[in-house]
Amino acid sequence: MLTNAQTSLYPAVALQCLMGILLVIVAWPVMYRLGGSRGAVLGTVFLCFDPLVVLHQNLILTEALYLLIFTKALVAALLYLDDPSLYRAAVAGVGLGLAALIKPTALVVGGLFILISFKDWKKALWLAVFTFSIPGLWVVRNWNHTGFPVYTVQGNFTLLQYTAAGAMALDTGRQREDVLKELEAPLISEASTTGVVPLSLAYKRKAVAVIRQHSVATLHYMAMGAVRVLGGTGLEMVVDLFKSQSVREKESLASPELQISGSGTWALLKAYPLLIPLQGMYMVFLLGGYALFVKGLRDLFQSGQWRLAALAAASVILILVISTIPGGYYRLRLPMMPFLALGIAAATRKKSQFFIRSNERQLH
């Protein structure tokens, strides 16, 4: 029997599914320009029909909205670099700013775009003004409420709760949750007398001390997170699609592995052997995508479009590193998908049309 609360979510789900269709329309022109018709098909299919993207489209999460806004901003920013106009700067900057309000990694990408547009300072200035306007207002809002000009303090909490506690757990052979309770206990007792920003700074100080003490385990923890981000498949979401109750909720008590490993891939494959071929096919899809992405970067470098290649490579690496802080989770791969798709589109063509206009201008 459906509750009113559940049925009231349907308009949101319908809107998100519509966003999935819009993503195809938004991504296609830039993929076509970069890789011709074959490259556009490959890039668009990788970006819009990756099972992880599709599976997140009907959930009450921010992934669908983020991916659409971020891709639109990315397309506008690339076109702006190629052929600048105030309109494109506004669409790119405001889009990146909005995306940064959903996931702060978008701000890192905005910074990279500004860096590679520095050849022409006016171009960089306009992009910076539009990109930082919305996040800047958020900082002012937080300053007003807390007395500190902060963008977010979530990272400071996460650093202790995941990276530091995870590294210590690896070194001591205990559960992360137990280690975290021990680390947080003195901080929580101070929490009532201090504000959220000083508390977050205390979390950060403690996290840095733990990370210094367990530096090798921290690298180990981050490497495991990177593998989860790059290879996580979200199989429980596939099972959830056809079950009345979330498989994670239903089976996490019976199988502790589901709680420990995040995606719990092995536990799920054992419980549902029919998923094994699906998992295999997805791994081939993913590995093929990564191989094409690397080839695309090489082709872009060789055809003189090193700025675009450097932007895509740096964005993927930075997003990957940031994603490992909260322990790495397959969902955190989604922000790097547009860059992977751009590389894949470029891999099918030796000389794409991007930046050709500006290159020609320089030649003449």
């Binding site: 999935g20 296609w28 029909f49 996931k103 702060p104 709760q161």
Partner: protein, 73 residues
């Protein structure tokens, strides 16, 4: 430059995302994950109390730790 995706790709998108919508109708309880509950609370507080807050009592402390898109801890 071809601005519009080919009909085949568009039809595929409509098919795939339409199917996702109908699957969501079949198992509505799975639409809400752990993070979704935080987002729904934020939305409800914004709608009824005009405050971006995860508070469930009348203090309505404004949330400054993060944005809606960050994984809840």
């Amino acid at each position: 430059m071809k601005l519009r995706p080919p009909n085949g790709i568009l039809a595929l998108a409509i098919g795939v995302y339409g199917a996702m919508f109908f699957l969501a109708l079949r198992t509505p309880s799975n639409l809400v994950k752990t993070d979704s509950q935080t987002y729904l609370l934020l939305a409800e507080n914004l709608r009824t109390h005009h405050v971006f807050s995860t508070a469930t009592t009348a203090s309505w402390t404004r949330m400054c730790t993060g944005f809606p898109g960050i994984l809840s801890t």
